[in-house]
């Protein structure tokens, strides 16, 4: 209560100030400078080729997931077809690059994402004008229909979408500036990083504008937003178009990165992936989709290396987040912010210890589940390749009773122990938040 009151009291004070002080400017700029520095030095820390590729993919995914969150998180529009704008941005960027190469136009590669932005915006305006008439579930279904429309068309209009093999290009053939030819991955990484930081700043700034606030109002209560004098449909439409713009930039960056765009870029799987990234990271605050994009990209590259059924793990992860942590990973982290602010360090330490205590059985349960999935998969699909599989550097015989018994014991035991530790965690949490609340009151 007091926290809300203080927040409300703070706003006019900050806004009334005609010129922000140097300290305020520094506070505003510092996180973004830190981010830019982090992007700049990351390749020096992770030097392998795989890491560089993955970092590039993460940068693209961050832009894409944040653009998705402009819809789901900020405006409350659940879209199942966001890849349409990503993919079409990519296709138009590729065609633009090929035209530039063909006609020898004086356009350098770093400007190509602008093409993606314009085309994403244009298609956002076109499809948004029909689909944002409805909100909620109807919007979700319509977005899926539009997504299917475009991805089915991509196999029919072969001239534009390049059929199954897609449209390829050569990023090194454009006008060179500062003697950069964008052949090596490191140069492409810095191009992506620069655009990523730019887009992040732009999208964050957008959430701070009156328009961003209206998006939130439309998400929370469209009727009241209408009473204030804003047409919810118009707000949704603008948010949708702008989300298309940033998705188009992400698509163009992907086109530059891969030098190839095919119909998978507009497909349902890509739409599902961005939804997964944004939601698992947490749609409730700005940093959530960034966390989700990094995690999902990493998991996707790593898991698909280790197991054939990585998509199953993705689905289970998603269901787990929806059921038990609907605010995503960032929501779980932000839950602890009041404790941190109240300086309830001692109870936080106790809480951390109970977390560790609960983590152990959770890991046992997880190991059991992984064992179960992998052994079932091996037994049913890969039976021809013998009956032994190696997991966690231990060999398991998928036909032996012992291995299955171990699996059952791990799952049941892990679940039981987790259930036992949960009340302890819950009690520690309540103590900590009570203390934080008390401290907040005392202040």
């Amino acid at each position: 209560m007091s926290e809300v009151a203080s927040r409300v009291a703070n706003v006019p004070v900050r806004d009334a100030r005609p010129r922000p002080s140097a300290a305020a400017v520094a506070r505003l700029v510092a996180p973004w400078l830190a981010l830019a520095v982090a992007f700049a030095i990351l390749p020096a820390i992770f030097t392998s080729g795989l890491a560089l590729t993955m970092l590039s993919l993460m940068g693209i995914m961050i832009v894409f997931a944040l653009s998705y969150n402009m819809l789901l998180g900020e405006t409350g529009l659940l879209s199942f077809g966001h890849a349409v704008y990503y993919g079409l941005g990519g296709f138009l960027a590729v065609h633009a690059m090929n035209t530039v190469i063909h006609d020898r136009l004086p356009v350098p590669l770093p400007l190509i994402p602008i093409v993606g932005a314009i085309s994403g915006l244009a298609f956002g305006v076109i499809f948004g004008s029909v689909s944002t008439r409805r909100a909620g579930t109807a919007f979700a279904m319509i977005s899926l229909g539009v997504g299917e429309l475009v991805s089915s068309s991509s196999l029919i209009l072969r001239g534009f979408f390049g059929g199954e093999e897609g449209v390829s290009t050569n990023r090194t053939k454009l006008l060179h500036i500062f003697s950069l030819n964008f052949g090596p991955q490191i140069q492409v990484y810095y191009l992506i990083a620069a655009w990523c930081v730019l887009c992040m700043i732009a999208m964050y700034a957008l959430t701070r504008t009156p328009f961003g606030r209206m998006c939130n109002a439309v998400r929370e209560n469209p009727e009241r937003a209408q009473f204030v004098g804003y047409n919810p449909r118009t707000v949704r439409f603008i948010a949708f178009s702008l989300a298309g713009l940033f998705a188009g930039i992400a698509g163009a960056l992907a086109a530059i990165n891969f030098e190839l765009v095919n119909s998978a870029a507009v497909g349902a799987e890509q739409s599902g992936l961005v939804l997964l990234a944004a939601y698992v990271g947490g749609i409730g605050n700005f940093i959530g989709p960034v966390i989700g994009a990094v995690l999902v990209t990493w998991l996707r590259v790593m898991l698909s290396d280790v197991t054939d059924v990585w998509q199953l793990y993705f689905g289970l992860l998603f269901i787990g987040v929806v059921m038990f942590a609907p605010n995503g990973i960032s929501g779980l982290i932000m839950m602890h912010a009041p404790l941190w602010r109240a300086r309830a360090y001692r109870s936080m330490l106790r809480l951390a210890l109970t977390y560790l205590a609960a983590l152990a059985p959770a890991l046992v349960l997880l190991a059991g589940l992984i064992l179960f999935i992998e052994m079932s998969y091996h037994l049913s699909v890969k039976a021809a390749e013998g009956t032994t599989i190696s997991l966690f550097h231990i060999a398991f015989d998928t036909t032996s009773v012992k291995a299955w018994a171990a699996t059952v014991i791990l799952i049941a035991g892990g679940f039981w122990l987790f259930r036992m530790t949960w009340p302890v965690v819950s009690a520690a949490w309540h103590d900590a938040s009570a203390e934080a609340h008390g401290a907040g009151r005392a202040k």
Partner: protein, 316 residues
Amino acid sequence: MLELVTISTLNGVLYGMLLFLMASGLTLIFSMMGVLNFAHASFYMLGAFFGFQISQIVGFWPAFVVAPVLVGGIGALVERYGLRNVHRHGPVAELLFTFGLAFVIEEVVQMIWGKAPVDYRVPPSLDFSAFTAFSTNYPAYKMFELVTAVAIFAVLLGVFRRTRAGLIIQAALTHPDMVAMLGHNVPRVFMLVFGVGTGLAAVAGVIAGPALVTQSNMAGTLVAILFVVVVVGGLGSLSGAFLASLLIGLVQTFAVSVNLSVADVLGGIGVAPPSGGALSDLWNVTVAQLGPIIPYLLLVLILIFRPTGLMGTREQ
């Protein structure tokens, strides 16, 4: 021409009725619980695979009964232990839960039966031609599909409109608190509706499996079509879903048999279509090729001209 029209009409109605079997469950669940079941087509797929597996062991007819019951049971369990817990996080969380579920079901089906189509065949007792229309033999199995779909539709409508159970369901839909006050277990009614809805999808799967291809990607394409049916018909309207199912079934079936393109039409009236360019395909695409995207075009058109759908009421 008459032959084409007759056969296409029969096939279109058949496809439309199959769509309706699924769309009715989807609509019922949606109007009752406000949950859009993204995994509805996945239950259809489970029905087809269960039907295949069970018919391998005990034959088609027992499978025809057992598979939908099993799938309906799974659906009820999903409602009881999954959806009901997610409910407090709001409708978006519920929709996302079923989205994740669709993902998981597809993967599990791939794990068990692989990615290739399984050999799910028409039972020998129905493997003959029912009648000959214009020198084309019309298979008895398709007639069986049609009759089953129509019968289920009739039973469903009868139960819903004429029995006490239907009355309670309808009341629980609009006045859940009052129904609970009268001593009915509303959550259990929801569980049953979800179970029956998914069971209906499974019936469609069992009977459509042998006629179409039974493989692990059969849900993916269908779910979008189902959503089109539900939106075009009007969200939550059973009769709208019926109309839209038939409409889409007929349109898609007829489209396949029309081999005409814009270029042909323009050529017919003596205008040469522009040639070349990235969009030259636009002129040469035939209606038959467009078949798969016609439902989505219909969706966009409906949204422009009648945003509430054919039989939909105004959005609150």
